[in-house]
């Protein structure tokens, strides 16, 4: 069965922009208005962060937004309530939930899948869910709810592991641009990053690729798009939302600045 993620890639082919923001940030009820304004401004995929108290793979910006979102009262129940009816308003853009395994486990993985599917979520990114555990315990469940897992690939991921990851999903591959947490500086010797992107491109994988971590403006977005079907922007968007009292407007301005 196809889902919206595949359709988005088929339709546009390249230059896809995936934007990440933390649910419940800057204020609790910004989640749905943000989805609408981001897609209207031209974002192709929406990745919603489920805030966690101890986000190990995230840099300071997403950490701070997660803490703020939790203080605002965000949790899984509230998020699924907010997402109810989202598909009437945003019918096409793929929506992914990104988060850490512990809150999902406590909610119950099957409950989580059921609620996500009911809300019209298409994909799930859980960076600390091991591949073997996914295959052994959750793969069938994800299939039943037509949810696609998205797995990360880094410059250190071995080729045979990349092939295995590529076999395990029909969505996209999340290419982490270099060593670091989200928003990271990625200081690497010249040519190293290009060589990594080209090496992955040359593998002729089944899934399209999106490059993420440290992409934050028009220049870095366009550069990433030379090596992949698109890119993911998170921390830079969240920074643009900091301190604003009109988050949807700030988000739209940010997306325009990247795409114009």
């Amino acid at each position: 069965m196809q889902n919206r993620i595949q359709q988005a890639f088929q339709k546009k082919g390249k230059g896809l922009l995936n934007v990440y923001f933390t649910a419940g940030y800057p204020s609790l009820h910004d989640t749905v208005p943000l989805i609408k304004s981001l897609t209207q401004a031209g974002a192709d995929l929406i990745e919603i962060g489920m805030p966690f108290s101890d986000p190990l793979a995230d840099g300071p910006v997403i950490q701070a937004s997660s803490t703020a979102a939790l203080q605002n009262g965000m949790n899984m129940r509230v998020l699924f309530q907010q997402l109810e009816g989202i598909r009437q308003e945003v019918p096409e853009a793929p929506i992914l939930l990104m988060g850490y395994l512990n809150p999902v486990m406590q909610f119950g993985v099957e409950n989580f899948c059921r609620e996500a599917a009911a809300a019209g979520v298409d994909g799930v990114i859980l960076p600390d869910l091991p591949l073997d555990d996914y295959v052994a315990e959750y793969q069938d469940m994800f299939r039943r709810y037509n949810l696609r897992p998205v797995f990360l690939i880094t410059p250190q991921t071995a080729p045979e592991r990349i092939r295995r990851i590529d076999e395990l999903t029909d969505s996209f591959l999340y290419l982490v641009s270099g060593p670091g947490t989200t928003g990271g500086a990625n200081t690497q010797a010249e040519g190293v990053q290009e060589a990594y992107f080209q090496r992955i491109e040359a593998m002729n994988l089944r899934n399209p690729r999106l490059i993420g971590f440290g992409i934050g403006d028009k220049a870095s977005f366009q550069r990433a798009c030379q090596y992949a079907e698109g890119a993911i922007i998170g921390s830079a968007l969240i920074r643009a939302l900091e301190g604003t009292d009109d988050a949807p407007a700030a988000a739209a301005r940010f997306v325009s600045s990247v795409l114009k």
Partner: protein, 398 residues
């Protein structure tokens, strides 16, 4: 393969606890370690270097001391395993000596560590100085304040101490920062975890490196009591490394009662506690499925203990299994009772224990040990680092 208490499964499980729940960025490093640690530990050249350093540098074997006045008070036989006499003042160095040799064999040149009480940070800075390696230690801002002498020691030893400013600014947050550093430096860096926590193979690796404690205990007990097996082994548990080392060679000896002592802070139900075995539910922290203090949404709760080394919302997966299976008894001790135990050991035996260790000592009255029993308390560290705290609470202590 079924689990024993000593040996987790190939994927690092003790019963339902353990595993390696890590983001892809850490996978190559952790996998490299998993594939190599047993071979490296078993390599005779490694063992020779490790044993020699334990003897000539750490000062092992540490004595097993019969505490006669303490024994009289509790009407039983109390022996103290003197890990406080290790170089740097706590058991932590047993692990860091082993892991620095491992890091060298893995070709790593940069070492990172987290620390709570500062003892693991000092022990890591020490072996890095010894081996001429770069050392960065993450420490919660609160802990830097309450364990100041250890911050100075680390700096004197050439380490860089970086403050962890997130969350409760204690051990959990220092560990988060160390993990993020490792994510950012995946090629040249080895992360020396300080307890039996973290993703597999760390809990097993650290337990094996601390197992020397109980290996020595068995020999020393045989000599002193005529039996290798005591009635009780008592140790405090933050993450659980000194307890894992003290329990290790008794885990498969059902006659030996194992007692793990956690920090109750202001009281188990006060909302200011670190008694994970009572307050925790299965969950994931720092890459391991274990007992974890968390709210109903799965957000990790901030723990509290006066003692920086026990102020952690999880316990190692081995200990979660020991608690769950009933193999070990878990006792929790409040701040004040730990402080009183500091005074008691100081006055009765002339030994000033670390605040962490004092929790184990404070459990002596709750064991139910009788005059024919032999109780070994693992004296995990000395109290020098805590003098400022002891001064502040002089009214309770004296």
């Amino acid at each position: 393969m079924s689990t024993t208490y000593q040996q987790p499964t190939e994927r690092g499980y003790y019963g339902q606890f353990g595993g390696a729940f890590i983001p892809e960025m850490l996978y190559p490093n952790v996998e490299e370690l998993r594939q190599q640690y047993l071979d490296i530990l078993a390599d005779p050249a490694f063992q020779q270097e490790y044993q020699q350093l334990l003897r000539d540098y750490v000062g092992r074997p540490t004595p097993l001391f019969e505490a006669k006045r303490l024994s009289a008070k509790y009407n039983t036989h109390v022996y103290l395993k003197r890990e406080d006499l290790c170089h740097t003042g706590a058991h932590k160095v047993n692990n860091t000596v082993g892991q620095i040799l491992l890091a060298k064999r893995l070709g790593k040149t940069r070492i990172i560590a987290e620390t709570g009480a500062g003892q693991h940070g000092v022990a890591t800075a020490t072996v890095c100085a010894l081996m001429g390696m770069q050392c960065i230690v993450y420490m919660g801002e609160i802990d830097m304040e309450r364990q100041k002498p250890n911050v100075y020691r680390m700096r004197l030893l050439g380490a860089e101490v970086r403050a962890a400013l997130s969350g409760s600014r204690t051990l959990k947050d220092a560990t988060n920062e160390a993990i993020r550093d490792w994510i950012s430096n995946p090629v040249d860096t080895h992360y020396i975890i300080g307890s039996v926590v973290g993703p597999h193979p760390y809990p097993d690796l650290v337990a094996r490196l601390q197992a020397v404690i109980s290996e020595e205990m068995r020999k020393q007990l045989l000599e002193k009591t005529g039996s290798e097996l005591p009635s009780y082994v008592v140790a405090c548990v933050g993450g659980g490394s000194n307890a894992a080392g003290a329990f290790y060679h008794f885990l498969e000896e059902p006659a030996v009662k194992l007692v793990a002592v956690e920090a109750a802070g202001h009281g188990v139900n006060s909302g200011h506690s670190a008694a994970t075995s009572v307050l925790g539910k299965p969950g994931i922290i720092h890459g391991s499925r274990t007992l974890l203090m968390q709210d109903e949404d799965g957000q990790i709760t901030e723990p509290y203990s006066l003692s920086a080394g026990l102020d952690y919302p999880g316990i190692g997966p081995l200990h979660a299994f020991l608690a769950d299976s009933g193999r070990a008894r878990f006792i929790s001790i409040e701040d004040e009772d730990a402080l009183r135990a500091v005074a008691e050991l100081s006055r009765l035996e002339g030994i000033i224990p670390a605040l962490e260790t004092a929790h184990a000592l404070a459990a002596l009255g709750q064991l139910g040990a009788g005059p024919d029993d032999v109780v070994v308390v693992n004296l995990s560290g000395r109290g020098d680092k805590d003098l400022e705290t002891y001064l502040k609470y002089a009214d309770t202590i004296l």
